[in-house]
């Protein structure tokens, strides 16, 4: 009797802890709140970036970089600081499991052509397969919104933004400002 009572103490403590700990919202509950800016399931309908189907590790790291300020932002830092590590992991897992859909975009064919040349000479060793390739550190670019691609390229191009991934800033510094729009147009034209 006595021994069984003692044995049950840790169990009671565990149960108590579960009961009092901050209940974590489900993946869907957390992610649904993001749709107001990133579109339903992360499939954005305008320049805010498409995040559906990006690699989980990439999304996790990007959210953490926003949260710590390592990556500058207009609003994402303020939003990312609202989530703890477990919630960031849950969000990343949710959006990584969704499907990327490349939106149709009206693009200038001349820009697309010029962008393709720049891509081949300067970017294709990492952003393989015309920007469709993605891994833990490389986001998919093919079919992203042109305006967003251009914004991020400008961020790398403007040294005062102090973006992470120094190699990207160095790579982009080779380009003229007009090249950025061409490059963005090329990736946006891909599916």
């Amino acid at each position: 009797m006595k021994s069984s009572l003692l044995w049950s103490i840790p169990l009671v403590l565990v149960l108590f802890q579960i009961h009092t700990a901050h209940a974590q919202p489900s993946h869907r509950m957390l992610a649904d709140a993001c749709a107001g800016c990133h579109g339903p399931r992360g499939q954005s309908a305008s320049p805010m970036p498409i995040i559906a189907g990006l690699p989980e590790a990439y999304l996790e790291q990007t959210m953490r970089d926003y949260k710590t300020g390592k990556r500058p932002s207009t609003i994402m830092g303020r939003v990312a600081r609202g989530y703890d590590d477990a919630e960031i992991d849950a969000l990343a897992a949710f959006f990584a499991s969704e499907v990327w859909i490349s939106p149709p975009q009206e693009l200038d064919p001349k820009q697309v052509k010029a962008g393709k040349r720049i891509h081949r000479d300067g970017c294709s060793s990492c952003h393989k397969d015309n920007g469709r390739f993605q891994n833990d550190t490389t986001p998919r670019l093919a079919g992203q919104w042109k305006d967003y691609l251009q914004i991020v390229l400008e961020e790398y191009w403007l040294w005062e933004r102090r973006m992470p991934h120094l190699f990207m800033s160095i790579a982009v510094s080779e380009f003229d400002e007009e090249d950025l729009e061409a490059l963005a147009s090329f990736y946006a034209s891909q599916r």
């Binding site: 489900s26 509950m29 957390l30 749709a35 800016c37 309908a45 207009t74 600081r81 859909i101 939106p103």
Partner: protein
Amino acid sequence: MHKLSRRQFLTTLTGTAAASMLGYPLLSSGAFRARVIVVGGGYGGATAAKYLRLADPRIEVILIEKDEQFVSCALSNEVVAGERSLASLSFGYQPLTSFYGVKVVHDEVTRIDAESRIVSTRGGEEFGYDRLIVAPGVSFKWNAIEGYDSDAAQVLPHAWKAGEQTLLLRRQLEAMPDGGRVYIVSPPNPYKCPPGPYERAALIAHYLTQLGKQRSKVIILDAKDSFAKQALFEQGWERNYPGMISWVPASADGRVLRVDVKKRTLYTEFDAHRGDVLNVIPPQKAATIAEAAGLTNDKGWCPVDQQTFESSNREYIHVIGDACIAGSMPKAGYSANSQAKVCAAAISALIDGTAPPAPSYINTCYSIIAPDYGISVAAVYRLDKGSIVSVEGAGGSSPLDASAWERKMEATYARSWFDNITSDIFG
């Protein structure tokens, strides 16, 4: 340019969503486990209807909304400023029916019988419900400013519900002389879209400048002594429209007590202000249907359980959006959208007989001060001891020392937010 591609894209998106729902019973196949009625098809109500169907297609959802089209108040200051058409803010309800199986009834709810759980409409219909979501928005307190009622609003627009009122205000700006005076009467808290009057002041100054009337003045007479994103607005006004905009707080006799429509004059305690354009945004309360259904408190707003949004006054009735008291969330489109999702998940669980899931809420409010100059305020919210509170260390306003490039980005993102939230609701 975005218009066409966005439409096409939405078709792609909704097509996918529709395909993924083929496995579920659709409305016509009968056999629902419960019926939820949603009153009001704005940011809150339309979101709730869609997300309830996504949460559980065995729930029948009937959305009752009097207008055939929703016209967004968010971004309507760009219509006032001649930068955007009203059509670009208008959305139909057809996708909610076609893709998500929401039954949409265009009628006005005139009575809610909480005892029998039946709503009645002006059209003479009755609908029974298992649960009811009331998302009616705000009503104006007519005559709270003496002389300002719905007739006065035909002459001195409030433009706080988008549509003809928005266009009326724009026409008056177009007609006024250079060197004229525009007055904006800003209401006491709480009211819908807290930064709205101050964004409007900026975009009116922008429009007057575009029209070659930069000698004109925009004067805000306020019932408050401070307002949302105040430092950012004051900085933005001065940078973009130096000397054009002034703000008179309540403590400096800014509170308007009376309006004389014929004389186009506003009266404060000690002063009279005659203007060329008078934009009077009246004090607000939860919409009258909420009041009639016994959902409001003595201040005119609806207290709710902030996890399920079930009314504190009436069982089986949930109130979301501007009409409800949602802790520290402001009355804004994104707030309503976020509350609707939490409420839909809770109702789905309650119908299942399980505990409502842990909630997570978010809100961002963008304001456009000039076409390439935007600012924002954001917050992530959690439930803490029954109240919605913002997560500490997160959220807040855009920095005061942001670069011109960042201000431009925020204006871009403001419009992008609008495209995405409306595709989340009506797409």
